[in-house]
């Protein structure tokens, strides 16, 4: 298995956040984790990224424990709800940031960055500052900045939650396309049921610091606890009411 998390435990002070959490993720797949606010989704991603230390448990990437590997050596990129673009750098320099950290030759940086900007449809914005971009464009730059360093694993913490519905749909489509083209392995956490179904190859649900994985999307859809049934019932009853009104 590409990513294996075993019996992860984390508490902040006396408040337990994760209880013996385990998950598996094969290479080049996206695991969607559905969960409400405060269920421990962000803590799980931060533990995998190495930004906080677990109290107990093991995180293995390609059969190697990474518990004691510093975040800068894990090659795991964490994308936040907000794009967090560097306000002092333009679009080009934001995307090129990871390559500059790796001291890649300037000519290679220019070539790779231009290619990435074109790929994400940002070539006309290369000299713009972050504040001159729309929310969707900013998230695309954040994607480019993460993708350009060819990360082993991408962790996406509700990256589209601040976008309006139309842009959100565009970004979901963009991510699906990019994930396929770059053969990305990712964990995508969201509290949006529809988004979790669109984004994930595999499904899981998190509640009270515990994670429940589903063997297939069908199992996820048919499980009463995921809320898919309730959602379907809502739309069907609305449709029925609408039909009655028309009649």
């Amino acid at each position: 298995m590409f990513l294996e998390v075993r019996n992860l435990i984390k508490a902040f002070g006396r408040e337990p956040v994760l209880h013996h959490l385990s998950l598996d993720l094969p290479e080049h797949e996206t695991l969607s984790i559905l969960g409400r606010s405060g269920c421990g989704k962000t803590t799980l991603l931060k533990l995998i990224a190495g930004l906080i230390d677990p109290d107990d448990g093991d995180i293995r990437l390609n059969d190697t424990s990474i518990n004691h590997v510093a975040p800068q050596h894990r090659n795991i990129v964490y994308l936040y709800q907000e794009s967090l673009l560097f306000s002092h750098l333009n679009v080009f320099e934001n995307v090129a940031f990871g390559l500059r950290l790796r001291k890649v030759p300037s000519a290679t940086i220019a070539e790779k960055t231009e290619r990435m900007l074109e790929h994400l449809g940002l070539e006309t914005h290369r000299k713009k500052r972050p504040e001159q971009l729309s929310g969707g464009q900013r998230q695309r730059v954040a994607f480019g900045r993460a993708l350009i360093i060819n990360p082993t694993l991408m962790l996406l913490d509700e990256p589209f939650s601040n976008l309006d519905a139309e842009i959100r749909t565009q970004m979901q489509e963009l991510f699906k396309r990019v994930a396929q083209e770059f053969a990305i392995t990712a964990i995508f956490v969201t509290h949006d049921l529809k988004e979790s179904l669109i984004m994930g190859d595999r499904m899981a649900q998190m509640s009270g610091g515990k994670l429940r994985s589903f063997s297939s999307k069908e199992e996820f859809v048919n499980d009463p606890e995921t809320g898919v049934g309730a959602e379907l019932h809502f739309w069907e009853s609305l449709k029925e009411q609408h039909s009655v009104t028309i009649l």
Binding site: Q72, L84, G98
Partner: protein, 255 residues
């Protein structure tokens, strides 16, 4: 008409803010000014000549610039780093509360209290003693100044640099300092001014051997010559005005 009426509050506020400076300029150039005249009856440059011919005035200016720059740089850098440490500390509130302690004491009491220690350390009556004394006050100010700067978004930005492959030095040099540039400059201006206008600490800890510009010009003010006092006052406020003018881009930034 309506437009002109709208300008009245703006002109009023601007005049209120600029009045002390405008009045100092008027007073510094006043010649004969007898009661009950509201404005001077004649103008001359005598007071300016006296100030410029004063012994060691240039030397005092350089000394003050040196002390204030050292205090500004050290307090800003120290406050920036310390507040970062405090921001992620579990006793953040207590540590921030402690940063207010130097302000509880007036500079005179603070100066008298630490003078004995400075004598033992052999930094009393010395450039370093004045810098350290003023620096303690300015350092506390800088910590409080930066307290709100280290918010959750900035911490997330720092974490992002790590996941992109950077270490602490990369995060600091390539992201945190450039983002903080405007805030750092404003803090430098403020701490520079704390030192620049300080009279008590420079007098007590300098023991009269560190004749800063403030100390020398206060001498003129105590002579009760209003014209000379006005020139002295202008001389004192010119460097801070220059500093504010140079940093207007950051100081006028909307909050």
């Amino acid at each position: 008409m309506n437009r002109a009426l709208h300008r009245i509050p703006f002109v009023f506020v601007a005049l209120c803010c600029l009045f002390p400076i405008l009045f100092l300029v008027l007073q510094s150039a006043a010649g004969r000014w007898d009661y009950p005249h509201v404005l001077p009856q004649s103008f001359n440059a005598n007071s300016w000549r006296v100030i410029f011919s004063a012994a060691h005035l240039g030397q005092s200016l350089l000394l003050s610039l040196g002390i204030s720059s050292a205090v500004g740089v050290c307090a800003t850098a120290g406050g920036f780093l310390t507040s970062k440490y405090i921001a992620s500390h579990r006793h953040r509130r207590t540590l921030l509360y402690l940063a207010y302690v130097p302000f509880v004491m007036s500079p005179v009491i603070f100066g008298v209290c630490i003078l004995f220690l400075f004598i033992k350390l052999r930094i009393a009556d010395h450039f370093l003693g004045v810098v350290v004394g003023q620096g303690i006050i300015a350092y506390g100010f800088a910590i409080i100044f930066f307290a709100r700067f280290w918010n959750a978004q900035l911490r997330a930005t720092e974490d992002l640099v790590y996941t992109l492959g950077g270490n602490s030095w990369d995060a600091f040099r390539r992201v945190l300092v450039p983002i903080a540039r405007g805030t750092l400059l404003v803090c430098f201006c403020q701490t520079f001014l704390i030192s620049w206008f300080d009279y008590a600490l420079a007098l007590i800890l300098g023991g009269g051997k560190i004749p800063t510009l403030t100390i020398r010009l206060f001498g003129f003010i105590t002579e009760a010559n209003m014209q000379l006092a006005a020139v002295s006052g202008l001389f004192l406020i010119l460097p801070p005005i220059a500093l504010f003018w140079l940093n207007r881009k950051f100081l006028l930034k909307p909050v």
